[in-house]
């Protein structure tokens, strides 16, 4: 077992190093750099000599390898450099933007799961058939809803029309309510579709028929047998949806004026703020590696078949 853990951690470190190196090379290959863009910007009206001096002071023209080693050493010691555009340390930017994104994404995902389960259970259990088909068409409607439009609509109705939730200067929970809803609705759609499909599939499986033949009620079969079997593939898809969740978060952050990684990335890309982008790539890789590592290490815990053989190594 310790060997397995060491191997996994080693792999994770390799992934992180590759992400750092590849992103470093790609970011260096961009036609401009943050210093150029910041100081060439006519806003400052600097002359060519002054810009050359500034570039020299940032060692922007140092050889590639020197820059690479310098940056790598800094990252290893927890120094992510400065954002040229914002004029603050990158670590301050991450501290200001990571927590809101994590809250938004986590709560948005949880609400999406709740919505998806409610929709699919309702569609399986409702006795009236026209109501059932109405519920079944809800995911299509949700998936077709642009996040941007939905966010504005919710603000217009709940904040401006009925004045229930302030969008400007709200309390910490008020601030999350509408954005979480905005994010959850489109994410819940594919989840609900897969869940509904799985419930239908499992319902037609022989074991469900056997259970019913033994006199089990519709509800009993759904909750005891079908739900368990239908939920697992849904959660797998849920993991894949996480990427979409972050993309949706960019728009939601913009509409609600929230801080977050999305907006930070967008601004950093716009101004080619390499220090910020480099840190964001490494952090995303770290998050990915962490989630996968956790899943891998937990796999034997959840699936009894894997416990005896330590098969997860394969």
């Amino acid at each position: 077992m310790p060997q397995y853990v060491i191997g996994r951690v080693g792999q994770a470190a390799l992934v992180l190093w590759s992400a750092f190196t590849v992103s470093f090379v790609l970011l260096q290959a961009l036609p401009g750099d943050a210093i150029l863009i910041k100081f060439l910007n006519p806003e400052l009206g600097l002359g060519p000599d002054q810009i050359a001096e500034i570039r020299a002071s940032y060692a922007a023209d140092a050889p590639f390898w020197a820059q690479y080693l310098h940056t790598a050493a800094n990252f290893l010691t927890g120094h992510f450099g400065y954002s040229i555009q914002a004029g603050v340390p990158v670590s301050d930017l991450l501290l200001a933007n990571l927590p809101p994104t994590l809250w938004l994404a986590t709560l948005g995902f949880l609400l999406a799961v709740v919505l998806a389960v409610s929709i699919s259970v309702a569609s399986a259990l409702l006795p009236v058939s026209w109501l059932r088909s109405l519920i079944q068409s809800v995911p299509s409607l949700f998936v077709a809803t642009p996040v941007f439009w939905l966010g504005i609509l919710l603000i217009q109705v709940f904040s401006f029309q009925f004045k229930l939730i302030p969008v400007i200067d709200p309390g910490p929970w008020e601030a999350l309510l509408l954005p979480v809803l905005t994010l959850a609705i489109p994410i819940s759609a594919p989840l609900a579709q897969i869940l509904m499909r799985n419930i239908d599939d499992v319902m037609t499986e022989p074991f469900a028929a056997v259970a019913r033949a033994k006199g089990a009620s519709h509800h009993w079969v759904l909750w005891r047998h079908v739900a368990k079997n239908a939920l697992l593939p849904t959660l797998t898809i849920g993991g894949i949806l996480f990427g979409e969740l972050l993309a949706g978060a960019v728009v939601t952050e913009a509409v609600f004026g929230l801080n977050g990684i999305g907006g930070l990335t967008q601004r950093a890309v716009g101004s080619q703020d390499i220090a910020v982008l480099q840190a964001l790539v490494v952090f995303s890789a770290l998050a990915f590696v962490f989630i996968n590592l956790t899943v891998d290490l937990l796999y034997p815990v959840f699936d009894p078949r894997l416990r005896t053989t330590q098969g997860a190594v394969a």
């Binding site: 036609p31 401009g32 943050a34 150029l36 863009i37 100081f39 060439l40 910007n41 006519p42 806003e43 400052l44 009206g45 600097l46 002359g47 060519p48 000599d49 002054q50 810009i51 001096e53 500034i54 002071s57 940032y58 400065y82 954002s83 040229i84 555009q85 914002a86 004029g87 603050v88 340390p89 301050d92 930017l93 200001a96 933007n97 504005i152 603000i155 217009q156 904040s159 401006f160 004045k163 302030p166 969008v167 400007i168 200067d169 913009a254 509409v255 609600f256 004026g257 929230l258 801080n259 907006g263 930070l264 601004r267 890309v269 716009g270 101004s271 080619q272």
Partner: protein, 535 residues
């Protein structure tokens, strides 16, 4: 109140002067973009200027109505005949919010930094200070600045946002640390109380503030207790929040939203930025626009009236020169800027560009096809360029309007081959602004050789540069304004620029927000502001 409405838009009415100021309250200000680096010379960026103007004071005050320079932190000053030496007498008893005195030594340190930059701290030189040599502290309240050459624009340069005075402690910080607003220590009526990066900024009034511009009626502390800046990038959310009484004033409102806001009894403030107008400029290094006849043809093919009436409102006056009517040294060049399709076609014919089969003009098999990149900060810039493209299409010239992120735009805009046409504007209430815009080692919008772009092959206009140098160094005011007139005529005669409209900075405010004033290039000042109805 001195900072009256006359200097800027029509719709601010007389609302500012009603009633007796009420003390207290927090002003909720919705900003479109987060501020960037707050090193004072970077104050030109609208969000930066909106903050720096509350927390810093300037050596002098430019009256936004008359554009005269009046005393502020400097009680008085003398300038020698050839404008190479300026001596300022500093007011006593002024302190920065960290307790350090704002005396001659502090002023000298500020200007040494702004005028020469600081290589070790990576602080760049200020755009508004030309030919700076050194400072000399004569006594604790007297400071003298010397210049290598005449620098007649310097006095006005001491009044701009980019010359906001900051504590020596702030100037000791490296450039990369100055994006943190809490580190910017000024002597202004407000002080940064707290900041959430990229989201929110709170300013508190300084209770002991007692050194506002001498000629202002209002003295002592600001009426407001606090100002809260909240970043709200989405236009419709800003406007909705204002109308739903969740905010008091918002920055950046598009011309097409103005009516909705005014119909509800809210006010549009559209102070002019009073510098070089929002224009379309050419890069004659590109052979397609090297021919004066082509540029003149495109100038006459541009229908500014249509652009202003279709896309903008009364707050965006049509340009009648390369600088605004309210700018110093302005001359009216409307006759030279006429819309005349026949003249445009004749000029293109004369230049050898004949209409091809698809209506596109060609010469030696090459089509007359140009490209411009949208400037993200300018109001409805893409729509403006697209309308210009439509108008040029009528004479057989194609203009491609491209949008890119600000990084790529900045880089592509430095290459005359990629961007033969470019949008341009800059605000500053002194004729030096013309030099800033066109001179090769400043903003260099025409892309002459010798500037920041290494892509320029050969284009240089010595005559223009000589005029610009004279403009920045002629100590005699009358002569200097005459040179300003010559430059405007020359740029239009050479059809280097097509002026479109005089750019304001547009705000919308609730009717109970009184006494909002604007400095000479449209940055808001909340020193005089009060809330008639407490929130």
């Amino acid at each position: 109140m001195l900072t009256g409405a006359a200097g800027w838009g029509a719709s601010a009415r007389a609302a500012d002067t009603e009633g007796t100021p009420v003390k207290g309250g927090t002003l909720i200000y919705l900003e479109q973009q987060p501020h960037t680096n707050l090193y004072p010379p970077a104050g030109g960026f609208y969000p930066n200027g909106g903050i720096l103007n509350q927390i810093t004071d300037k050596l002098t005050y430019q009256n936004p109505k008359t554009l005269e320079i009046e005393p502020w932190i400097a009680e008085s000053w003398t300038v020698n005949a050839d404008a190479t030496e300026y001596t300022f007498k500093i007011r006593t008893g002024v302190t920065f919010s960290d307790g350090t005195p704002l005396d001659a030594a502090a002023v000298a340190k500020n200007y040494d930094t702004f005028g020469r930059g600081n290589k070790d701290l990576k602080l760049p030189v200020s755009e508004v200070i030309n030919n700076y040599d050194r400072s000399e502290v004569i006594d604790p309240q007297t400071v003298k600045f010397s210049f290598k050459k005449s620098s007649p624009g310097f006095l006005q340069g001491t009044s701009v946002i980019g010359s906001g005075l900051v504590s020596p402690a702030t100037l000791a910080l490296p450039y990369e640390a100055l994006g943190d607003a809490t580190k910017i220590i000024g002597s202004g009526p407000f002080v940064v109380a707290s900041e959430t990066l990229g989201r929110e900024l709170t300013l508190k009034a300084r209770p002991d503030y007692n050194w506002g511009p001498a000629k202002l009626e209002h003295q002592g502390r600001a009426y407001l207790d606090a100002i809260k800046y909240i970043i709200t990038s989405e236009d419709s959310v800003r406007i909705g929040a204002l109308l739903a009484e969740q905010a008091d004033i918002i920055r950046q409102i598009q011309a097409y939203d103005e009516k909705q806001v005014e119909d509800e009894g809210y006010l549009i403030h559209a102070p002019s930025t009073r510098g070089v107008n929002n224009s379309v400029v050419f890069r004659p290094d590109n052979p397609l626009v090297a021919d004066l006849r082509v540029r003149r043809a495109l100038l006459h093919a541009t229908d500014t009236d249509e652009i202003v009436s279709t896309l903008f409102s009364a707050h965006y006056p049509k340009a009648t020169s390369i600088i605004a009517r309210t700018a110093l040294g302005y001359v009216d060049l409307s006759p030279k800027l006429s819309y005349d399709l026949e003249k445009a076609k004749a000029l293109l014919d004369e230049a050898g560009w004949k209409a091809g089969q698809n209506g596109l003009r060609q010469k030696d098999g090459q089509p007359l096809e140009l490209t411009a990149y949208e400037s993200l900060p300018q109001p409805q810039n893409k729509e403006t360029l697209q309308l210009v493209a439509q108008q040029w299409g009528k004479v057989g010239v194609k203009l491609n309007v491209l949008t890119a992120d600000s990084g790529s735009t900045t880089l592509n805009n430095l290459d005359p081959a990629k961007a033969p046409v470019s949008p341009a504007m800059v605000g500053r209430a002194d004729p030096d602004v013309i030099k800033s815009q066109y001179y090769p080692t400043n903003r260099n919008v025409l892309l002459q050789k010798g500037g920041t772009s290494d892509k320029v092959q050969s284009f240089v206009d010595e005559k223009l540069n000589t005029l610009l140098e004279q403009l920045a160094s002629e100590p005699d005011r009358e002569k200097r304004l005459a040179i300003a007139g010559d430059v405007q005529n020359y740029v239009v005669d050479q059809a280097y620029a097509i002026p479109i409209f005089e750019e304001p900075q547009a705000f919308a405010a609730a009717p109970y927000v009184k006494g909002v004033s604007f400095e000479a290039v449209g940055r808001p000042s909340f020193y005089d502001t009060w809330l008639a109805r407490r929130r």
